[in-house]
C-alpha cells in the first residue's frame, strides 16, 4: 500500500537559523538526485526537547500537528534535524502506545480539524535513511563525479538520529553514515565516540560541561587522524564547529578541524558548486575536499 510514497521536507527551526548550510546542501543534493520533497506547508516547531521539559502534551501536540498536515496529503516526512526526527517519531509512537496521550492529542486535533486526517500512517524519515534505503548506495555511487580518495573522515552520528526510535540502523553501533561517506571514496574512521552526545543544548547553558563533551569528540577525531568530521545534525555541527577556538583556549589544544554536514560532502563528490552547498557559512573551511591531489 505504501509503495512510491511522496515526501515533505520538514526543515525545523535550526535549518532556518544556524544551519542554513544544511538546508542548502540537502536541497541541492536532493535536486541533483532528482528526489522531490517540497517544504511541509505551514510547519511548526517539532516541540523539541526543551519544550518537553515544560509540558509534554503540548510538545506532542505540536509534533502531531506536523504529522497530521503531512498525512493529510498522503506524504511522509523527511526531517534532517536529528532532534526533530526523534521528537516527531516519539510523538507518533506515544500516540500509538498510550491511550492517555492519544485521547488528549486527538481532542486537540479535532479542534483544528485535523483529527480525521491523522491515522498515524505517516512515516518520519531522516535523509540518511532516504539515501541508503530509497535512493540506494549504488545509485549514489553511480552519480559521483569526484572521488574523495585520501580524505580521512570521522563520521559522527550523535545521539538522536540513532536513539531511541531508529529502525534503519543499529542504535548501538550504526554504520549507515560510514557506508554513505565511503561511497564518496573517502576513508571513514572507526570510533566508539560516533554516537556519543556532543553536549547538545548544554553547550549554551553549562558551557564547561557542554564544551568538554564536544572537545572529547574533536580530540578523538584528531587522535585518529581525521581530516574532517561529518555530521547529520545541526546542533552537533554547531557545537563541534563554532566553539573550537574557545575550546583551544580552555583545553590548551590545537583543533581547527572542519565540521561539515554529510549532505555537503556528498555535494562535493557530486561536484555541486560550493556556494550551493553553503560552505560560505563554514567557520572552518574544509580545504582538504578541494585539494588538487584528490583529482
Amino acid at each position: 500500500m505504501r509503495e512510491n510514497r511522496k515526501y515533505f521536507y520538514y526543515p525545523g527551526c535550526s535549518l532556518k537559523g544556524t544551519s542554513l548550510a544544511y538546508e542548502k546542501s540537502l536541497l541541492a543534493v536532493f535536486k541533483y538526485l532528482g528526489f522531490e520533497a517540497p517544504e511541509l506547508p505551514d510547519w511548526n516547531c517539532c516541540g523539541a526537547t526543551s519544550y518537553m521539559s515544560i509540558d509534554e502534551m503540548s510538545a506532542f501536540s505540536l509534533a502531531v500537528r506536523n504529522l497530521a498536515i503531512a498525512e493529510k496529503e498522503k506524504r511522509d516526512i523527511v526531517a534532517p534535524c536529528s532532534a526533530c526526527y526523534m521528537v516527531l517519531n516519539k510523538a507518533k509512537k506515544y500516540v500509538e502506545e498510550y491511550e492517555g496521550v492519544k485521547d488528549v492529542i486527538f481532542k486537540g486535533l479535532e479542534k483544528i480539524g485535523l483529527k480525521e486526517h491523522f491515522k498515524g500512517d505517516v512515516k518520519v524519515r531522516h535523509p540518511l535513511d532516504i539515501f541508503i534505503n530509497e535512493i540506494g548506495i549504488e545509485n549514489i555511487k553511480a552519480k559521483i563525479k569526484r572521488k574523495l580518495n585520501g580524505v580521512r573522515v570521522f563520521s559522527y552520528y550523535g545521539c538522536l538520529l540513532v536513539r531511541p526510535f531508529t529502525d534503519f540502523d543499529n542504535p548501538r553501533y550504526p554504520t549507515m553514515l560510514d557506508n554513505l561517506v565511503s561511497a564518496t571514496g573517502a576513508e571513514t574512521i572507526e570510533s566508539a565516540l560516533k554516537t556519543k552526545c556532543c553536549g547538545g543544548s548544554l553547550t549554551g547553558t553549562l558551557e564547561n560541561v557542554g564544551l568538554r563533551l564536544s572537545y572529547l569528540i574533536l580530540k578523538e577525531a584528531k587522535r585518529k587522524g581525521a581530516h574532517l568530521i561529518v555530521t547529520v545534525c545541526p546542533l552537533c555541527q554547531f557545537n563541534l564547529e563554532a566553539y573550537q577556538d574557545r575550546m583551544e583556549k580552555i583545553f590548551h589544544d590545537k583543533l581547527g578541524i572542519p565540521v561539515i554536514f554529510f549532505t555537503q560532502i556528498l555535494g562535493v563528490a557530486f561536484e555541486i558548486d560550493g556556494k550551493e552547498l553553503g560552505f560560505n557559512h563554514s567557520l572552518i573551511y574544509p580545504d582538504i575536499l578541494y585539494q588538487k591531489a584528490l583529482v
Partner: protein, 190 residues
C-alpha cells in the same frame, strides 16, 4: 570545629505519592523494574557532573525521596541523548523519567535559582507557544538577558562571528496559522 550532617532517613519524610505520580506518567511505568546495575550511569555522558547518578535517582524516586530528587542538578544535566534508555537491561525509559522530573520540578518551582537550563526551556517554550517556530537569535538573547548581561558582552564577539557567517540572523520565524496553534495548545492543556 566542623559540623556533622545527619543523613538518616525516616519513613515519614518519604513521599510515596510522588512515586505513584511518576509511575502514572506515560513512559515511566518501567521504573519499578530497576535492578540497580548502573548501566545508565555508565553510558551517560554527563553523569560525571551529576550530584546523583541516574541509577540513584531511579532508586530514590522508587522510594519516594522527593526533595532530594527534585532539587538535584541531575535532572537538569540530562542532555536527553537516550543512551541510558537504549541500554537499560530492563527497558526502563530513563530519559522520559528525567523529563517527567523536570516538569514536576518546574511545576513546583524547585529548580536551583538562576540555573540556566530551566530558563532556556522556559524561553524556548514561550517563543514557540506564540510564534509556532523558534528564532534562535531571539532565543539566545532572551536566555542571556535572563542569566546576565555580562554573558551577552562575553559572547558578543562570538555572536558577531556567527552573524558574519550568516549563522545568526534576526528575521523572525513564525507560522501563518497561529490561531489554530493556539486552539490546539489550549485544548490539550485542559
Amino acid at each position: 570545629m566542623e559540623t556533622y550532617v545527619r543523613t538518616i532517613k525516616y519513613e515519614k519524610e518519604l513521599d510515596r505519592s510522588f512515586t505513584k505520580e511518576i509511575l502514572s506518567i506515560p513512559g515511566c511505568e518501567g521504573l519499578t523494574n530497576c535492578i540497580q546495575c548502573g548501566t545508565c550511569s555508565g553510558t551517560c555522558p554527563v553523569s560525571i557532573y551529576m550530584d546523583y547518578p541516574p541509577r540513584r535517582i531511579i532508586a530514590m524516586v522508587r522510594e519516594g525521596f522527593k526533595d532530594e530528587v527534585l532539587s538535584s542538578k541531575t535532572i537538569w544535566l540530562c542532555a536527553s541523548c537516550y543512551a541510558c534508555t537504549v541500554e537499560c537491561p530492563q527497558n526502563i525509559k530513563i530519559t522520559d523519567i528525567m523529563y517527567a522530573l523536570k516538569r514536576i520540578a518546574m511545576r513546583e518551582r524547585r529548580y536551583p535559582k538562576g540555573f540556566p537550563i530551566p530558563i532556556l526551556a522556559k524561553a524556548f517554550f514561550d517563543i514557540v507557544s506564540n510564534k509556532g517556530r523558534q528564532t534562535e537569535s531571539k532565543l539566545v538573547m532572551n536566555v542571556w538577558l535572563k542569566i546576565s548581561l555580562l554573558k551577552i558582552l562575553k559572547n558578543s564577539l562570538f555572536g558577531l562571528k556567527l552573524l558574519r557567517k550568516g549563522k545568526l540572523h534576526f528575521k523572525e520565524e513564525k507560522i501563518k496559522d497561529r490561531e489554530s496553534l493556539k486552539l490546539l495548545l489550549e485544548e490539550v492543556k485542559k
